[in-house]
Symmetry: D2
Subunit: 374 residues, 4 copies
């Protein structure tokens, strides 16, 4: 009989602002979260989700400063130990919150041999990896794709997941270009993939997603000039968010593992467009939740989804106006819409809907993953 | 045996821009719409839905100019004959479109005595009325409420509806205040209800809705100082949209009438918040549509809903950020979110979701009406 | 003695909204403007100046409908006769208005031989030309540049201007790409220069400006791949505005001509950045206006300027944030800032400041032209 | 002979983002700024300047954390020692920066008796005071006005300024209302002055300014119901900025004092509207700077100005559109425009232009203060 060595816990914590760490600290003080076991924190912060969304780096700074004394580490070292991914933009009913993932060794073997023998007894596990820092001119290109792929494999090993089919969500935090970074590359004689800051976020998210697709065998090969060009290339489980606060990729693999004794499981579906109700229902069903009990059973922990404005300008044959709106960015539109749908299905706006799904799911759609208590 | 004198048709037409009348003209040219029978046009246009949303008046101007020669009327007279209500804002998956309502006498009695005797055989009917022009200082106050109520009764008579329970949606177009109008009132020594243009839209919508509630007996009395103060006062069927292009209210009553021989019926539900999936399912059920066939049967004609950011800053206990966002107005957020939910349930973004639900449904919620083929 | 055959008048008319033609009609009714003599109308309208700024096409539609009966033309024919250029965006102190240019033959020779002999007695003249319609994939590329150049020469001839040094402002209205146009090209197997609607406005403005530079001999040659790449290439007098309402370029050349008997003259300066006070003062000086009398003499008719966010992200060594703002487009920022400066110098916000100065003046700067009564 | 006990230094430091403290730390490390002498830091940060502008609190948090170890204080205590005022919004050419004010005793008497005897030898001095925390329902009302007045007197004493005519700028940081704060007051049975977060910023700024006017004798009395109603009531030197990060007022008085041995002087003018070039020139002249040397002499340290959209909707008779723009807040428009004008006059965008000038200068205008090296 093999004991399961990994135990994963997932806690969702509402926040009152991007700098609010009081909920997390209260749970630590109450003994419900051990700081040393925190592996990753995924958050939704209430910025615009664009280039000048400083709520992401502010939230990370606040978390870092708050956890440093509790971990006995310098603030900088906290970021090396814990993967922080803040996704900006809580449009519509979306509600700012943190999802904290902890990992510990499961101790004296919670799992029985019988459980371990059953394929469907695999439980939630997560793993982390970082790439090296990228140069501005590497963002959105070959090196960005390949380094991401390597980090995915590393994170799978960290999670105790061998089979790519057991991977249900790969969250990536990736860099973006600012005017300063573009200029810096130019001074060294290098052209960046784009000279637009907002546009660079798409390239960075897209290249990261294609790196996931390669790593998981969803694609066999991809040329860097296909990024943001060939929408038939995508990963069904990649979710990437660009932020101003880093120059490398942080990769978090979420899946089910026979080595995990977690009380949670994860599954995913693929939304083919922004109104794909059926895909969300299917993902819920795969963790055992029907239309009614998703909202009422208390078993649902969180939903993770990517949203984007369909690049052909239509949804099921009807024109949308997201891409031609010069006042409100298309990622804000898309998060609000998909957040409304998932909020309605799950009965809460405290879900993780992230914008900009380039090469993450089919064009106009995106992956949707559900974590639920068994 | 009593013949049913009224026949109502409803046609949804996508548009390629606020000035696009080509779809309507094509249907007229094909003989599918008789210009003289057009009673009302409800549209969603792709502006910001705020004070400076000129897409509404542009769309009305385009419709007026296009229909004038076909009706043998001057452009100005077209607006007196047909009720045009343009609701600005097609955020997220919402898709710009027109819904054209036509009315003609049903000719040689399509309905039998048996049908007329059955309560459930009532069919879609609509009626129209206008108030007088308001002074800027009247907007959002007593006169605004009372004149709206009178117009509702007039429109019910026009629709052949006696029982307030047969009224399922009352669409109102109402005015707003601009800097110029506020100044004009001030020069005459009168204070308007607010000095903010954007804020005035809420007062105008709210007073209009309370006028509906009084007219339908949902409320017995209401004091003008309760507008935008006492959220327990509301109508379950009112839907008001403020626009810069008029200074009076246009009232369109939609309901079921024993005098109608229309192939359509209407029903409504009341969303208690922005994620109230159950209320939309209930409204669909009342016209005989289940979760699956709403999207696939082809019987659904359109859904009409109001959306707003919950004034207490939360949705089911979780904080939303719509009211504190100084970049994107809360009505844009709310339309996008509710549009995402209703788009998901109906399988299309070409639905009429309108923002700003003050006193239209409970705080944070709003009425939702469904028109379907029998 | 040679009589001067051309007489040009320039009238500035405030508007109360994009559809407001009442000021123009009042001047026509008062006999101050003869509809048949209207050559061009340049307007500032209060939209966002971006892709979905429908105030431009709404204003043109309103002008067309209003002038059609007074010209005895169909609305469509009015647009062929008169050049309408609406520039969206009246941020900050900028005030919506129309500038109407009329041209008639000067009749019984206002100018003397002595005047004609003096170089400095050249007076304001304007000329118009149109290019053919462009395909979506031509926008921002070779054909766009070259056709614009040809139209500039044609418009110079129309204005009676031979010497390129007498050209002080070339206003161009050019098309932009929408999702629909991009898709249309893709269906025919052609890639557009960009897939972003907002980005396409820059390509269109830039290619148009380079066409002007070639036509006036400011540049000897330019490769299409230099558009939005090589900022050292620019015209000192080009001003282009992109709009959704057309697929060709409209070119308006403004300069001084010995054939004109106008009471007005024009001159220009080149702002090297957004705060280049000296360049505006220099342009004012060239039409004989000092710092004080620009604001007080009543001789100033209008100022025409282009504004843009410096592409290197700084102004005189200090970082600006216009290019990294995902809430407000950089053209809105730039118009507001340059409008504030020119408004302060001219004592009015009713000036024509237009955004997006790609290849129009040096990077971060732009041309500024002044029309004044002699 | 009386030695002058106070020495004030003023240093302007560009920032690369709201969390950037590297410039300040470099000056500390170089010995140019002594942390213990820092009295106040005024900053411009690149948020939207609205309710959800978290760049202000992020910047303060970063400064607090950075200075804490250098002052040997806990982060919280740093905020009690140093007055931090961050004004959000760097639209147009405005450039994010910090202005650091230090104060030390002047040591061995830099000033002679002769200097002290001359009225015009008064030099720059500043003083600080805090009010108590306000309840949400106090903001914008009587208590807010009166407590601010008291703090102004306290700060004048701190600055060594007796004569109100020697006060040239009073910078105040004041609180705003959020949905949560409004709800909290409502739960205790109290109505706040407004239920709109953005609107509350105006009430808070306005009440603060009226407190300054009372304290300096500019007004004899003011009723709380005049706030945002009677625009004839104003202070010519008040400048208030609302922020989410505090619930009390911080008051910084800047003026000239015979007790100061600073190498700087301050003077002010009053802009009567957003394009009042003359007022800025006058303020520059009062510190001895002409039109040309403001930009070139190197003596100018910084300009501090307030900007707002004229509440009557016009500037010198021409309509502006700032108040009717539902996409971009009027404070963003006004900062951009006035920043453009002052940037042009001073040759740099690194000036302190702050939005929302309710009761700060005449309606549509605002105070403008200049600090220059003698």
């Amino acid at each position: 009989m093999t004991a399961r060595p990994i135990s994963i816990d997932v806690i969702r914590i509402p926040t009152s602002g991007p700098g609010d760490v009081s909920g997390l600290l209260a749970l630590i003080d109450a003994g419900e979260i051990a700081p040393s076991e925190i592996l990753a924190v995924l958050g939704k912060t209430e910025g615009n989700g664009g280039v000048n969304d400083f709520t992401r780096e502010y939230a990370v700074a606040a978390l870092r400063e708050a956890l440093a004394p509790r971990l006995g580490l310098a603030p900088h070292a906290v970021e090396e130990k814990i993967a922080f991914v803040m996704s900006g933009g809580t449009e519509g009913v979306l509600s700012p919150h943190l999802t904290v993932f902890t990992r510990k060794s499961a101790g004296n073997g919670a799992a029985t041999a019988k459980q371990a023998a059953q394929a469907d007894s695999k439980r939630l596990s997560i793993g982390i990896a970082h790439t090296r820092d990228f140069l501005p001119e590497e963002i959105g290109r070959r090196a960005h794709i390949d380094e991401t792929g390597r980090a995915v494999h590393q994170a799978m090993r960290d999670a105790g997941i061998d089979d790519p089919n057991d991977v249900h969500f790969v969250q990536i935090k990736c860099p973006l270009l600012t005017s300063e970074r573009i200029e810096a590359a130019a001074r060294r004689g290098h052209m960046t993939v784009t000279t637009g800051g907002y546009a660079s976020m798409g390239f960075s998210r897209g290249a990261s997603a294609l790196g996931v697709a390669l790593a998981l065998g969803e694609l066999e090969a991809v040329n860097e000039d296909r990024v943001l060009k060939d929408w038939s290339l995508f990963s069904s489980v990649a979710s990437s968010s660009a932020g101003i606060e880093l120059m490398h990729n942080v990769v978090i693999v979420m899946g089910n593992s026979a080595q995990s004794a977690s009380p949670f499981v994860i599954a995913h579906g693929v939304m083919r467009d922004s109104i794909d109700l059926s895909a969300v229902l299917e993902a819920l069903k795969r963790v055992g939740l029907g239309l009614a009990d998703a909202r009422t059973s208390g078993r649902l922990v969180n939903i993770f989804a990517k949203a984007e404005a369909s690049p052909d300008g239509t949804v099921r044959g009807f024109r949308h106006t997201m891409l031609d709106d010069s006042d409100v960015g298309s990622t804000r539109h898309a998060r609000a819409a998909v957040g409304g749908l998932i909020g309605g299905l799950s009965g809460t706006g405290a879900v993780y809907v992230s914008g900009g799904a380039e090469h993450q799911g089919p064009p106009g759609g995106g992956p949707v993953a559900v974590i639920a208590r068994v």
